[in-house]
């Protein structure tokens, strides 16, 4: 439901695809309203797969796919869903999409499927996906829901890719399995075992949140 009724002319005009309002829907979750660092959602799987860049990219793509399509589908049938089974229907839509992603991954990229393992299935419980469905898709048009999905998806993606970048670089000395330090002549770079481990993930994410929140000025109380 659009809240922009002020500028409406007597004859309803079609809103341009990249209107200011829509741009805001997309850009808000990238920084000011970032799902991970501000809304505190989707942390779970974000940390576990970020040991290396490659699985993280697959994860990011999968999550964006699931958020966008579940937003779209939910928004399309939002007037048909009975209130009592709302949550279950949302869960069913998400579970189906995640199953699709998992089956395709198993068929065409078995190596990554093995690396990601159970974490593909855990996209279902990724709070961001459910969160967007409840907060946005249930009450907005399909077009807007797609944009919101893309925004939240990318907001999530850039955070986990940044964490993965540092964890792989300092934990294994490589980026996308390319041995960076070896190539620049520092072959005995002391890789930090903590980075590869859960602890490194928490620390990097904590620091990233600190930087991001200081820049946007968001303070939690």
């Amino acid at each position: 439901m659009s809240t922009e009724t002020l500028e409406r002319a007597p004859v309803k005009e079609k809103e341009p695809l990249f209107s200011k309002r829509r741009k805001k829907i997309f850009s808000d979750p990238l920084n000011d309203d970032n799902p991970i660092t501000v809304q505190v959602l989707g942390i779970c799987s974000a940390l576990a797969v970020t040991v290396q860049m490659k699985p993280t990219v697959i994860m990011a793509v999968s999550v964006v796919f699931v958020i966008v399509f579940s937003n779209l589908i939910t928004s399309l049938i939002r007037d048909l869903i009975p209130n009592r089974v709302r949550i279950i229907v949302q869960l069913a839509i998400i579970a189906t999409l995640v199953t699709l992603v998992s089956e395709v991954l198993k068929a065409y990229n078995y190596e990554m499927f093995k690396v990601l393992g159970a974490f593909v299935g855990l996209i279902i419980t990724n709070c961001i996906v459910m969160g967007r469905l409840e907060a946005y898709a249930m009450g907005n048009s399909p077009k807007d829901s797609i944009i919101d999905g893309l925004g939240s998806g990318f907001g999530y993606a850039w955070i986990i890719l940044t964490v993965a970048f540092f964890r792989e670089l300092f934990g294994s000395g490589s980026v996308f399995n390319y041995p960076v330090f070896e190539k620049i002549g520092w072959a005995s770079f002391p890789t930090n075992g903590l980075m590869v481990d859960s602890i490194g993930a928490f620390m990097v994410l904590g620091v990233l949140i600190w930087i991001q929140r200081t820049k946007t000025g968001y303070v939690e109380h």
Partner: protein, 248 residues
């Protein structure tokens, strides 16, 4: 009307049919590709123990023409059917599930490898392995030369060892250390090959039954040692029976 019981039931029934239908169709369509991926994955691991696999290689064709599998029990006797009476195949045996059984009750696959210029002959024997590393399972294959004493190669995998430490067992650097080592000593006792603690990096410092360790990954190394030792002892009766046959 939208909130009435009848509508809710109708809606959920419709959803169930649509979801069930979509997933079933996807599954049917993707199943061949999935089975192929899984097959490719396990056959590549087996072949990696005896040769280097390059990106463009037709793994399935190589496997088909150069590997033949059979299953034996702890006494080295051939097993044709499983507990339920169904025919048993080497590559269908679930190693993890068998690992949980008592070693006396396990099914032990054996893969015989013939090199490209010796079709029909056996140039290597490959045995699957399973064990526990530091965090989770470790597994792989050990390949023995025709003499069933010298190691032709190993290929190791792991579920979740630490990258840079325990995870090194899947790197060629570590696996190459086993090539040429022997598992029986001069008296004919099975001693397996042990990975030592610490890392000296001087290949001449090790005997025929020892390999250099991994610095910082002692627990994983111990897991590998235990795994090799246990499985080689389990296959010992089979190995001895083949050696006896050769001598005849």
């Amino acid at each position: 009307m939208r909130q009435s019981n009848a509508y809710v039931l109708l809606f959920t029934a419709a959803m169930t049919i649509i979801i069930g239908g979509t997933l079933s169709v996807t599954n049917q369509v993707l199943k061949p590709a999935q089975m192929r991926s899984i097959e490719l994955d396990s056959k590549t691991s087996i072949l990696k123990a005896v040769m280097t696999i390059n990106k463009g290689d037709d793994v399935l064709a190589i496997y088909k023409s150069q590997i033949s599998g059979l299953v034996v029990d702890i006494d080295g006797q051939n097993i044709e059917t499983d507990a339920k009476g169904a025919p048993i195949f080497a590559d269908k045996v679930n190693i993890l599930r068998n690992y949980k059984k008592d070693p006396k009750d396990r099914e032990y696959p054996v893969y015989k490898f013939s090199s490209a210029d010796n079709p029909g002959g056996v140039d290597a024997y490959i045995f699957p392995l399973y064990g526990s590393g530091l965090w989770n399972g470790i597994f792989g294959y050990v390949a023995l030369e025709k003499d069933l004493n010298t190691i032709k190669g190993v290929s190791f995998g792991h579920v979740g060892e630490t990258p840079g430490l325990g995870a090194r067992i899947s790197s060629p650097e570590i696996q190459d250390r086993y090539i040429g080592k022997t598992i029986f000593d001069e008296n004919g006792t099975l001693t397996s090959v042990t990975m030592l603690k610490g890392e000296k990096r001087d290949p001449s410092a090790f005997g025929p039954h020892e390999v250099d360790g991994m610095s910082g990954a002692t627990i994983t190394a111990k897991g590998v040692n235990a795994m090799l030792d246990q499985y080689l002892h389990s296959y010992e009766k089979y190995i001895k029976s083949i050696k006896q046959q050769e001598e005849i």
